[in-house]
Point group: C2
Chain length 320, copies 2
Amino acid sequence: MARKTGKILPGKAAAARAGNLLVLGSVALDSVKTPFGEVNEVLGGSAAFFATAASYFTAVSVIAVVGEDFPERHLDFLRQRDIDLSGLERRQGKTFRWRGEYSYQLNEAKTLDTQLNVFETFRPHVPASHQSPDMLFLANIDPDLQRGVLEQVKRPRLVACDTMNFWIEGKRDALFRLLKEVDVLVINDGEARALGQNSNLVAVSRMILGAGPKTLIIKRGEYGVLMFTGDQVFAVPAFPLEEVKDPTGAGDCFAGGFMGYLARTGKLSEDALRRAVVYGSVMASFAVEAFSLDRLRGLEYKDIEARFGAFKQMTVFEEF
Amino acid sequence: MARKTGKILPGKAAAARAGNLLVLGSVALDSVKTPFGEVNEVLGGSAAFFATAASYFTAVSVIAVVGEDFPERHLDFLRQRDIDLSGLERRQGKTFRWRGEYSYQLNEAKTLDTQLNVFETFRPHVPASHQSPDMLFLANIDPDLQRGVLEQVKRPRLVACDTMNFWIEGKRDALFRLLKEVDVLVINDGEARALGQNSNLVAVSRMILGAGPKTLIIKRGEYGVLMFTGDQVFAVPAFPLEEVKDPTGAGDCFAGGFMGYLARTGKLSEDALRRAVVYGSVMASFAVEAFSLDRLRGLEYKDIEARFGAFKQMTVFEEF
C-alpha cells in the first residue's frame, strides 16, 4: 500500500487516496511591497496558502469567507488544485484585504492597512459533509472561533493551530482554553516568546507543552524551524535561497506542507513529524520565491521531492 | 591508527598525537554584564577562547600579547589545558580590556568600553619553533597584521581567519589582499552582509568564494551556522539551551572546536568540514552556558561527545 511505504503520489491521485484535511482560515486579497517588487490585490489569506501547499499531498477542504468582489479566477485556481471549496462562504460585502511592506530584512512585515470586511463578522459554519475530517488546521483567527469549529467536528486524529500576538495579548484565557484541545501549536518565535512570557525558547516550550499541545513548532523565518515534542527537539534550517521575493504566506505554506504530508501518510510518529516539518519547510521555501502563490502555480511534485533531497543534503553529517 | 578512524582522544593524549595548530589573536580581560549576571576583568580574548576550545582536540599554540598586570592564574589555566604559551608576549603596560553588555536579545553585544593598551601596538612575532604550523587561525585583528603572520610561517595546510566590521569598513583593500591567501573565512552574518555588500547570504557567499577562500562559514548566533564550499551548503542549528548566560567568546570557541577537530583528524574533505562545524557548534554551545571560559573549566571530552550526539539526534530525519 502506498500509505505503508510512505510513498507519495502527486496531484489528483494523491488527493483521491489520502486522509482528508480541513482548514479554517482566511481567503484574502493582499497588496504587498518588497524591495523586489510590488503587487496589488493578489490571492492571499492563511487558508489559501495552507490549502494550496497541502493540495500537493492530500485532499483538503476550506472553511472561509469571501465577499461579492472576490475574483472568480482565484477560485478557479484553488479548484484546479482539487481543493474543496464547498465550505467557502460568499457573503454580501467586500473581501478581507491586507496591505503590507517588507524591508531588505525580510523576516517581518510592516502592516500598512487591514480591512477585515466580511471576515470581521465571520462565524464559521462547518457543513455536514466536512464534520469528520481526519486532520484539522485552525489558522490564525479569534481563538473562540477556532474552538467553535473544533466543537462542530468529530474529534480529528490531529488538530493543529496557529495564532498571533493580537490574541496572545487580547484573548489569553480563550487561547489557553483552545490550547487544551490542540495537538500541535505552530507559531513564530516572537509569538512563542510572548505566549511563554520568556525570552528562552526551551523554557517557553516546556510551558506551552504543559498547557495542552503535545508538539510545539516554532517558525523562525529565514532561520528555519524548531519542533519540541516531549523531550525531543528537532531543528531544520531554512533553505538558503538566492531569490526571496515575498515572505507573505510562508508560515501557512509551511503548515500546509506539514499537515498535508501527515494527512497523506496517516502516521504521527516522531519520524513522521520530522519529515512533515521538512516538507513544510520545502513548501515555504517555494512560496517565498515569488509573490502570492505564483511560485506554486507551475510547481510539480518532482520539484518538491528534489528540494526535500536538497534539505537532506544540506543538513546531513556523519558521526565518523 | 587513531587518525585514520577519526577517533579522538581527550586531553594530553590527543595533544601529543595531533597535528599542531597556531592561533593569532587577543588575550584580554573582559567585564561583561548580561541579564543573568555580571563579571569583572575575567579571562577573555579571541585567542584564549579559541585555544581553550581547540585544546580538547589538538596541540595548540598562541601568538598574543598581555601586559604586566595579567594575572598568573589565567596563564596557569591555559597551561593546564596543554596550550603552548611560548609565543605569548608579556609587555610593559596594561592588558587589553573590553567591557560589554547584552540585553535579553543575547545575539549582539553592546560595547561599553575598549582599552586596547598593549594590543594597540602589538606587532606579532612568530618564534622559530612555531613557524611550521599544520593549521593556522588568524582571529580578528588588523588584516595587515594577519597577513604579516601568514608571511612569517611556512604555508600551513589550512589557513582560516575571522574579521569584523571595523576592518571591513576601514581596511577593505587590505582585507581582500588577505582573503586571497586564506582557505576558510569564519564571520558572523552581519559581517558577511557588510563584506558582500548584499543582504542575501547566497549572493554574499558567491562573492566571497570568488575572492579567495574555498570555504565560507557564517555564524548566526542562536540560529546556528551556515557553511558554503563550492556548490555545497551545510547548515547546522545552534543547540537550544535553557541557560544562556554569556555569549562572549562563542564565535571563537566555535572556531577553536572547528579547527581543533580538523587539526586532530588531518582530513579536509566536505565530510570532515561538516563534522568540524558540528564540533565547533558543540564548543560554542558549552561556552555560552557560563561567563568567560568557566563552563570549559570542568568540561570533559565525554561531555563533548555526548553533545555531538545530541546535535545528530536534533537534526536527523529519514527520507522514508
